[in-house]
Amino acid sequence: MALQGLLWCIATLLGTGVAAIAMARHRSATTLVYGVALCACMIALAIAGWSLLALDSPGEALTLPVGLPWLGAHFRIDALAAFFLVVVNLGGATASLYGLGYGRHEETPGRVLPFYPAFLAGMNLVVLADDAFTFLFTWEFMSLSSWALVMAHHRRPGNAAAGYLYLLMASFGTLALLLAFGLLAGPAGGYAFDAIRSAPTASLAGVVLVLALVGAGSKAGLVPLHVWLPLAHPAAPSHVSALMSGVMTKVAVYGFVRIVFDLLGPPVWWWGGLVALLGGVTAFMGVLYALMEHDLKRLLAYHTVENIGIIFIGLGLAAAFEANEMPGAAALGLTAALFHVFNHSVFKSLLFFGAGAVLTATGERDMERLGGLIHRMPFTAFAFLIGSAAISALPPFNGFVSEWLTFQAILLSPALPQWLLKFLVPAIGALLALSAALAAACFVKAFGVSFLGRPRTEVARDAAETDRWSLASMFVLVALCLLAGILPGYFIDALAPVSQALAGAHLPRQEQLDWLTIVPIAQSRSSYSGLLLFLFIALAAGVGAEVIHRWASAATRRSAPWDCGFPDASPVTQYTAGSFSQPIRRVFGSVVFRAREEVHMPPPGDVSAARMHVRLHDVPWDVLYVPTAKLVSFAAERLNKVQFLTIRAYLTLVFGALVVLLIVLAVWQ
């Protein structure tokens, strides 16, 4: 029943996409498309939420007579799928709500409207797919539709290149998954997930894991497969960026979880180590990239990389624990990862919406040309602030809870028997802590430079608050950030069936604990109560304010800021994003990015401005991608000569082929 409902919603979305092709020129197309998408996603969200809470373990399945002729398209909704459907459709609903307002500013709606619902449908289908063919088909369909959306503004410099790299990497990932499924299904081609589950574990399970890691990782943005992400995500319209960053990467995570925890059978301990290590490196690198970045949307995209890393840390730990028969710990790691999946989708969408609002208000993505927006766009600023706090893992918001859970999982690692893991996991913990702290720094920069201070340009000075639809969807997400932060118990309980299904255990029920505290393992070990903290902070702040204003002065006076006797009006003297991140660049950048600073000082007496230039190297790009491209073009160059031979040379080729085959034959006989 639930499944039919979902499939109908998806069908509606697809239909909308097709209809949009016809009526893209029409004025009301925008409202209609986003409206329908909103409704469809809301319904799907309701169904998914219901099935997550109410559905029993095997879930519902049905087969449509499409796709591979003798196989048909299998669909299934179980706890895992239901959870990810919640994430997907929550993102979809808010993005559509946002799009109702944001879409009006779109200059080429014809290039957005048809593909937007298709993209949503694709993501839903991937989560529902229950056989290898349907999975990859929808997976690639999702990539294709999002590619079309990335190419929507193809005339802006760099976007076409971004789309190219994106589709190429997506196909690379699909190829990896293709091979993985080839191993899982075997030569007989048992592509249905049930067949794969029931089949004995694939002989080269390790290879399958690596392939799945490459395939899903290239879509999720694991370092070093992340290069396309910060180019492609910002290139799309902002609500699509939100979907790609907040939701599509999660679908990739779903693919990984589905393959590794569900299809692949019992894990081996080194899998966990590998995955968690990759996650740690990704988190750290991602946040460092973000700190070096001054383009608001690209900065957010790099933070997606970071958070994906955090999620993969949790997944890796879960795999490691599961490999050592520690279901409770595995459940903790898994729950942490999945909860972070939800949280990240929420606050990343929120942040991208904020960035989109700024973009529409100012037409600028470069933070160095913003500033002081908090005066012109107070609501957007507030929403963005909450989002920043949440993504920086600050209590009492939701980001903190999931990272806290991840830490709790890390703290269980000493129980692991393998020495490598014993030593590896604390290092990963250090990386995680480092990236959390750096994330805070990065968002101080992002919010401080673009919203606070004095406007650096005319456009920033004349910005205006964004429309109601956008604000509405942003504030929905703000509420979710806070709710998931102060009432995490309910969310963790909702995840119980998922971890039960995958790890064979779940965290203790949280909801009946007093003060809504969450206790991953035991009260004596660790506990956290977002609600209490929130109440205390509110109380303390309130009391403080009340007391002071009641019994002490409440007087205020405006005056010029202290300028150390060096009067200047120009906002140029403010700290820029570049100068803000300079200390951190000094500390980490010189190693990670081989950052070099060159200062050009004019000679004495010359009044021209001094110039400082910072050069950063993207090491993965230089080490992996450039050589590959060089190799291909070298081969192409060499082979190209064959196009320009004489006919006699071609005849010689034929002759040679014949003689060679004859010799082979003579030898063979």
Partner: protein, 220 residues
């Protein structure tokens, strides 16, 4: 089937191979064409002989076709063409005669080697014929790639056709389909070649493929 018949057939087949070598050896246009006429003549004889020993009258037709078309008409036509194009100059093989000869011998050896494992089931006659036919074909190919001039390439190609006829007639009782198709293909070949030579004459002052391939849709 008596020994004599076999020997004669053998003789003709061997003669064909020999003539192919002569074709390879020729480096004058006129000489080349004449040798080709000889080549065709040998083919028609061998076909006729096959017709005789197989009591297959329809093969006489093939023999006649070969005799008339290939041994007379085409050589004359080619003479006309080269006269019109004024290419009496010696044509230089790309690789020296010596190497070409050596390669040719190697090819003959190869074709024999390939044919050896074929069981006697197919009949010794067929087997030998096939070996020779294959070597004629390979030699024709070798000629095509060792010459740079359109006319000589065409001649090389037609020597391949002769080899095919040899093989076809050697295959006892093969339906008329094959002969027809061979004649048919020769016909087409002639037409097309004619058209092409004509056009090429019209476009360039030479039939040299080398000049042809200067014109390319795509510059390197």
């Amino acid at each position: 089937m008596d020994q004599l018949a076999l020997d004669v057939a053998h003789l003709f087949a061997g003669g064909l191979v020999l003539t192919s070598f002569m074709l390879l050896y020729q480096d004058r246009m006129t000489g080349l064409i004449n040798t080709f006429a000889l080549h065709a003549l040998v083919v028609s004889f061998s076909v006729a002989w096959q017709a005789y020993i197989q009591q297959a009258p329809h093969l006489y037709v093939t023999a006649a076709i070969a005799l008339v078309v290939k041994a007379l008409v085409i050589p004359l036509a080619l003479h006309r063409i080269i006269v019109r194009l004024g290419i009496h100059r010696t044509i230089e093989p790309v690789v020296g005669i010596g190497q070409t000869m050596l390669a040719g011998i190697g090819l003959v050896a190869l074709s024999v080697m390939v044919m050896l494992p074929i069981t006697a089931q197919a009949g010794t006659l067929a087997r030998e014929d096939l070996a020779f036919a294959l070597s004629v074909i390979l030699l024709g190919l070798l000629m095509m790639i060792s010459r740079r001039n359109a006319v000589s390439q065409v001649i090389g190609f037609m020597s391949i056709e002769n080899g095919l006829i040899l093989a076809a007639t050697g295959a006892k009782g093969m339906p008329l389909v094959v002969e027809i198709s061979v004649a048919f293909s020769i016909l087409i070949a002639l037409i097309v070649i004619g058209i092409f030579l004509f056009r090429i004459r019209e476009r360039f002052e030479t039939v040299d493929i080398h000049v042809l391939h200067e014109h390319r849709g795509e510059q390197p």
